[in-house]
Amino acid sequence: MSAPAATADTRLPSALRLGISRIVVELKEFFRDRESAVFNFMLPMFLLVIFGSVFSGQELGPTGITFAQYFVAGMIASGILYTSFQNLAISIPLERENGSLKRLQGTPMPKMAYFVGKVGMVFTAYVAQVVILIAVGVAFYDIELPSTADRWFAFVWISVLGLFSCTLCGIAFSTVPKRAKGASALVTPIVLVLQFTSGVFFLFQDLPSWMQTFASLFPLKWLTQGMRYVFLPDSAQALEVAGAWELPRIALVLSLWVVLGLVLALVFFRWQRRGDG
């Protein structure tokens, strides 16, 4: 083996380059892990196929909007939660337990590169998921795509705010499970409860008001509502509880969750297990 350097070359690889390198590794791990590929990536597609087939041809009241059109908005919003919060809140405890984080901590990797890797993985996985989801919807369930630039623009900012807030919350939540094995048993019910109360599976306006109030505290309700603006015609606005799309409020709540998520992640994220170090 060749000799080590007498003097260390101080020119370390840039954090940006390593962040990109992390994204590639994160994506390999995300897609190659069967559990992650099914529950974080494929699930919205499965659910769209199941619900789209069961409620095939049904419309929401007299609006002429198909159930599938309504449901695809909820599935895209859920996809944000799956690829970011659910994904990270389950996988980071495992990384903490199996020595992955400790190994990284022992290298000259800048810590920021790790988080860049997570964010890059989440965004890439989400984009791929949305493309497939929309393709399936258009091909089999006559989903109509948004026709105005306004709606596509809203689609982008709602997705970005949603992904950032839920990614940060997932990073923060990753310190909650005591054992990696129990993480999914803790995270999955949270995601399910949010989905049931946020108008993903049922029409939001049909839910009891206390449930609506509860859901309003969390991002998913606003993500789902925002995606309804993107995918439903303006005539559907009448079905909203507020009677309007409430885009400014959606932006406000999601932005608050980005800030809250950042604070929680900074306060609670740990590289090592409790009791170590």
Binding site: M1, S2, A3, P4, A5, A8, D9, T10, R11, L12, P13, R17, L18, S21, V24, V25, K28, E29, R32, D33, E95, N98, G99, S100, K102, R103, Q105, G106, T107, P108, M109, P110, Q272, D276, G277
Partner: protein
Amino acid sequence: MTSAIRVRGLTKHYGDLAAVDGIDLDVEVGECVALLGPNGAGKTTTVEILEGYRQRDSGDVEVLGHDPHHRDRVWRARLGIVLQSASDLADVTVAEAVAHFAAYFPRPRDVGEVIEAVGLAEKRDTRGDKLSGGQRRRLDVALGIIGRPELLFLDEPTTGFDPEARRGFWELIRSLQDGGTTIVLTTHYLDEAEALADRVGVISRGRLLEIGPPETLGGRSELTAAVSWREDGEVRIEHTDHPTGLVRDLADRFGGEVPELSVTRPTLEEVYLSLVGEAALEADS
């Protein structure tokens, strides 16, 4: 000679337990030091303080001229760390993992060369979760040396290796030593310490009981030798401070070859066990 590691009065407590209870240690550049000791003796805690993973309670620590507590990236790039058992990297291949970790360092070794050196050339496209225990450990070592470290920490590197794999691993470590790498090794295998280390330190109950070359540890080289041979159909053993004289007498008596002759000093294991045993007795009394 310059020190790669300099430790004075190191302590670390967990609650009431003194995991490290006043350790002094110097490791010279280019040296290989093995730390031996029972489980829970404080080996891993000591090493993890040196690696910058844990904070000490008191004492002075310098690793490659810096306090590991104030570690930065430049310092980290000069270190190689092989931790105890890890099970990460399940979904990436050997080649992908080594190439990825190479990217963290300013002057990494050649990826193919390192994979070859740890004996994983045939497994380069195998994912982590499909490797055997020994192969996984060799991947850990590959990731530890890919950055061309000046100082390499190995925490129980060969646990779970078969004897042949262990010999292969020793060869690899010797080649790193020949290249000038400073090595700190913790192990449960005394033959490993004896084969690799310039000096062996015995840690028990948070204290460094003794440190020295394996052949003189615990006054080993001056201890009574045991001479054994076969005579009249039975094995005879005699303990003596003058084995050479005894062997000469035996040679004269047998008029040539002495049947089954052997001269042994206490093994490193015997010295180690007596050191650790004494420490335990002292602590209990």
